[in-house]
C-alpha cells in the first residue's frame, strides 16, 4: 500500500471528463493496482478512483511529477503532483477477509457441528453437499436413516424455501438418497415462508445462535 499526501490536480477522461482543481489530497495506490484519490472528509468514497487492473506510469513533465493511470477500457486518470507532503509505502500482506458474526456460513458451521440439535439421532453426511444446481448446506440422515436436506439462512424468507424445494426435487431423483425430506433452518422465519414450507412438507427450525455458540444470557428467564 502506497499513501501519498500531495498538493495535486486530477483529471479523469473516459465515460466523461472530470477535473479536480489544486488541493491537498490523499492518493492511495493499493497492491493490486487500484488507485483512489481522497479528500479529508467523507467516510469511504474517494473523489476519483480507478479499479484494477491498471497501468500506472510516473514521469516528469515541465518540472512536475505526473502519474497517468490507464485501465483496459482506456479510461485515464492524470494526477499532477505539485508538492508531495508525504509518501509512505507499507507491505500489508494478504488480508484474511471480512468475517461477519452470525452469517450463514457460521450458522452452517455451528449447525453441522451440532446436528443433534436439529433432531435427536441425526447424523451429518456432508456439509455443502454438491448437486448440479448448487451445494446443499447440510445433508444429514435422521434416526431412521432417511436423508434430510437442510437449508440454512439467517432470515428465512420465501426465496429460501423455493431454493430448498429445488434441491429436494433434484435430490429426490437420486435413487441412493430418495426419499429426501427438507428442513428450513433460520434465526427467524417469516410467516409466509413458514406457511409455504409447511405446505410443501418442509419442516421449519429456528436456530438459537447464542445457544449454538454456548453463550448463556445473563438475563433471568423462566424457560
Amino acid at each position: 500500500m502506497r499513501l501519498v499526501i500531495a498538493k495535486c490536480t486530477v483529471d479523469y477522461s473516459g465515460r466523461l471528463d472530470a477535473h479536480l482543481s489544486e488541493a491537498v489530497r490523499l492518493i492511495m495506490v493499493k497492491a493490486d493496482g487500484c488507485v483512489a484519490v481522497h479528500a479529508d472528509g467523507g467516510a469511504y468514497k474517494p473523489l476519483n478512483w480507478m479499479n484494477a487492473p491498471n497501468h500506472i506510469r510516473e514521469y516528469e513533465e515541465d518540472g512536475e511529477l505526473r502519474w497517468t493511470v490507464t485501465n483496459e477500457k482506456k479510461e485515464q486518470l492524470t494526477i499532477k503532483l505539485h508538492e508531495i507532503l508525504s509518501d509512505f509505502t507499507e507491505e500489508m500482506g494478504l488480508d484474511p477477509g471480512l468475517q461477519k458474526d452470525g452469517v450463514e456460513a457460521h450458522l452452517q458451521e455451528l449447525l453441522a457441528a451440532n446436528v443433534e440439535k436439529i433432531s435427536a439421532g441425526m447424523v451429518l453426511v456432508r456439509r455443502e453437499y454438491p448437486t448440479d444446481i448448487g451445494p446443499v448446506d447440510l445433508l444429514c440422515r435422521d434416526v431412521a436413516g432417511i436423508a434430510v436436506a437442510v437449508e440454512i439462512k439467517r432470515r428465512g424468507e420465501i426465496d429460501g424455501v423455493e431454493q430448498l424445494t429445488r434441491y429436494l426435487e433434484y435430490l429426490n431423483r437420486d435413487g441412493n438418497l430418495r426419499p429426501v425430506s427438507g428442513i428450513f433452518a433460520a434465526q427467524e422465519i417469516k410467516p409466509q415462508a413458514r406457511v409455504l414450507a409447511e405446505d410443501r412438507g418442509i419442516r421449519c427450525l429456528i436456530i438459537d445462535y447464542d445457544a449454538l455458540r454456548g453463550i448463556e444470557s445473563n438475563e433471568l428467564k423462566l424457560f
Partner: protein, 368 residues
Amino acid sequence: MKFRCERDALVEQLGTASRAVSSRGGALPVLTGIHLAARDDLLTITGTDLEITVRASVSVAVTEPGEAVLPSRIAVDIVRSLDSGAVEVEVSGEEAKIVGGRSQFSVRTLPVDDFPVLADPSGDEVTVATADLAAGLKQVVRAASSDDARPILTGVLMSAEDGGLRLVATDSYRLAVRDLPDATVLSEGQKVLVPSRALDELSRVLGESEEVRVRLGEREVTFNVSVKDGEVQVTTRLIEGEFPNYRQLIPSSYPNQLTIGREPLLEAVRRVKLMARDTTPLRLTQKSDCVELMAVTQDVGQAHEEVDAQYDGDELTVAFNPDYLIQGLEAALGDEVVLETLDALKPAVLRSSQGGDFLYLLMPVRVS
C-alpha cells in the same frame, strides 16, 4: 359487482378485516388486497396473511352480485375519508369505483383468481361467554412473546382444566395464567396453542355480543362474533409444538408474602418508573409494614417511594422490569394483591389476595 351501504358500517368492517392483511404480499401480491364478495344483500370482506384470516360481513344493498380484490390500505383509507352516508362500490373489469357524496375514486383491482380459497371452518361449534373470554384474553395475551425466534411462546395455550378453560401465555420473563371455569371449549385433556396475534385481533372485536362461537379444527381454530354491523370471523392456524411445562415453576408455597393495595402500588410503580430508563429495573425492598420502591438511572437521577403494605417474611430486595410489573398489576383482579417471593432470583407470583382465577409469575431482574 355493485353494492350500496352505509359508510360507517363499511369502514368498521373493512378496518376489522384489513388488520389481517399482509403488509407485504411476498410471493402472493394479492395478499396485500382485501377480498369483497357481495351476494344476497350481504357483503363479506376477507383479509388474510395465510396465518390469520379475518372475515367481516355487513348488510348491503347488492345490485349486482360478484367478487373483487381491492388494495387493502387504499380501500380502507378511501372509505374512511368519506363523509357519513351512502357509499356505492362498483367493480367492472379491473377497476373499482367508490362513490360517496360528491367524491368519486377509481382504483385498480387485484386479480381475484389469485386470492387463496380459504376453507370453511371445521369442528363442532361451542359457545363461550364473551365477557369471560374477553377478560381472560385481556389478562393473558400481553404476556405472550412477540419474538418469532421462539414461535411456541408467541402463542396462548388453551387447555381443558377441571371442566373449564385455562389460558396461559409467557414470553419467558413472565407468565400469565387465567382459568375460565365456566367455559367448556375443549374436551378433557385437550390443549391447543393459538397465536396471540389472532387472539389480540379477536379481543378487538369482542364488544357487545354476549357469546363467542368457537370451532376447533385439526390445524386451525375459528371464532365467530356478532358485532353491531354484522358478523366477524377470526380464523387462525394453530401453532404446533409443546408449550413449556409451566406448572413446575409455580411453588406450592412462598416464605415471603407482601399484601398490598393494587391501585396504590400500581400508581407508585408508574411514578417511580419515570426514573427507570431503558432496561433499568425497579427495586422493591419489602419491610414489615411497607414496601420501598426505587429506580436509579445513571446520569439521570433516581426515584424513591414507600407504599403501606403488610409483609410476612424476611426483609428482601427484589428487582423487576417495571413494565412487566405494571402489566401484572393491571391484569390482577381485586383491590388487594399478594406478591409472593422466594428470593431475589427466583420467580415471584402476583395474585389477588382473595385467590381467584388469575396468576402472574414474574421473573426478577438480577441487580448487584
